[in-house]
Symmetry: C2
Amino acid sequence: MDKSAPSPTRRLLGIDWGTSNRRAYLVDGAGTCLADRADDQGMLAARPDFAGSFARLLAAMDVGADVPVVASGMVGSAQGWREIPYLDIGTPLEALPDHLVCIDDPRAGRPCLIVPGYAQRGAHVDVMRGEETQLLGAVALGRRDGWFVLPGTHSKWVLVEDGIMRRIATFMTGELFATLSAHGTLAPLMAGEDDDAAFIAGLEEARVGAPLSNALFGVRARVVTGAMPAAQARSFVSGLLVGAEFVAAGRAAPLTCIGSPALQARYARAAGHFGVALAGLDPDRAYCAALARFLDRIPS
Amino acid sequence: MDKSAPSPTRRLLGIDWGTSNRRAYLVDGAGTCLADRADDQGMLAARPDFAGSFARLLAAMDVGADVPVVASGMVGSAQGWREIPYLDIGTPLEALPDHLVCIDDPRAGRPCLIVPGYAQRGAHVDVMRGEETQLLGAVALGRRDGWFVLPGTHSKWVLVEDGIMRRIATFMTGELFATLSAHGTLAPLMAGEDDDAAFIAGLEEARVGAPLSNALFGVRARVVTGAMPAAQARSFVSGLLVGAEFVAAGRAAPLTCIGSPALQARYARAAGHFGVALAGLDPDRAYCAALARFLDRIPS
């Protein structure tokens, strides 16, 4: 491994290029964010012209031609710019900079280095694309061990031991919540405001462990029998889904939540209810710490 | 209780009036079906003019003015013709004929007797509207004890002891399957044909007991890593959902499935896999047996 000291004069642009959104960070060699930009040109909006979308982003940020660019997330999936094979879960997170894959598309104007995702195979199968970069950042920031939860459309729970992922468990929490809010029996009930007591009641129901198909009908049954105000259904369902993550995933401390302040607050409430100690980590900070590791390994 | 012998010359029209569909059966005092008619004038299509829809059905079937009419199902819900309060789960199924509620709407041309649904309240809350009539029929046919499963959009598992319901557990199996097939991450994968091995694999995954939000993402993870052909996803998800019913509900024999031949076959496959003895009961036969009990109690 090349352990040369990071050069603060060099810069790197990192693009967190997900399914629906995209966020770009210009960092120096210490991982300090010099500029950032978010837009809605995620994979679904950008395809099929990823090269053009990439070139427009760089032009908008006025990134010098000498600045290397790294992109992570669904941009490297089968529906993305180019499908990059998953790394095996046993590959240490700190080895990620050795596995960047270069796309050199003339229409893009310059090369783009794609960060591969990870797959766990065997009896338990799971995958990630994008979260590995935040996790490398966490390791770079000294968090080499414990459970990490990255909540969202597809919440990831990841067990890390000495900087190596041992277990990936993905929960379609955000997606199911959105789908149930828009379609089917419960949708008319899902308009309520945040209700802490209902969220906690949902967590408790998750602890009981009934299948989701049964617990969701229970929401309707409570409302039609008057056992629950309809306004509480939304937070109760949120509690059911978030609670299922805590019940299923390891509860052993330490647990770190890498998510927005709003999601950190929600997961902290659940963690407190289940008696789990939860630390927060800002996802932008983690991402930039990973970018510094990438820049470290990219030749001048 | 009036135990007078049923009169085979009297007749009754029973309407199984659900959310999306409606089926009417003309029976004699022995519960023999003399005529039936199915249409798509379920609650959603019929409202708000239930009286007119009712009158048109009777005219189409040319039902004599002397024939009493009973209707069960969502027609008695808050979104139906009139909301009829739930009976308590402790009310014996054979007492159901004592609890019919008469709607006498001049626009309907004749009275309609509505069968109330049932609610279980307390720590475990669940409800039914419509299935109670099939269950009364099962009891009338001598099946007074055991678990009953009525599969469908909302699958009901009901524990009956000596003709009294002790437990209702509803699973949104059919609804979730339809929603996942139409919306979200898995929808593009849900086009496969029936695949027995994949259905069984889904049942096994349900036995493992991971939360549905996690198990569903596992389907995607298997497909994108090549561990499962996309064509198997549909049957695997079906196995996950049906399997969750068997894992959660009592597995003690005897178990009776009241459902269409196709659903009986699917549940029989699952029951066999889980080592549960499952008997089938034709839902039309059960419904008509219940109608004979209603006719028994209606004054000439």
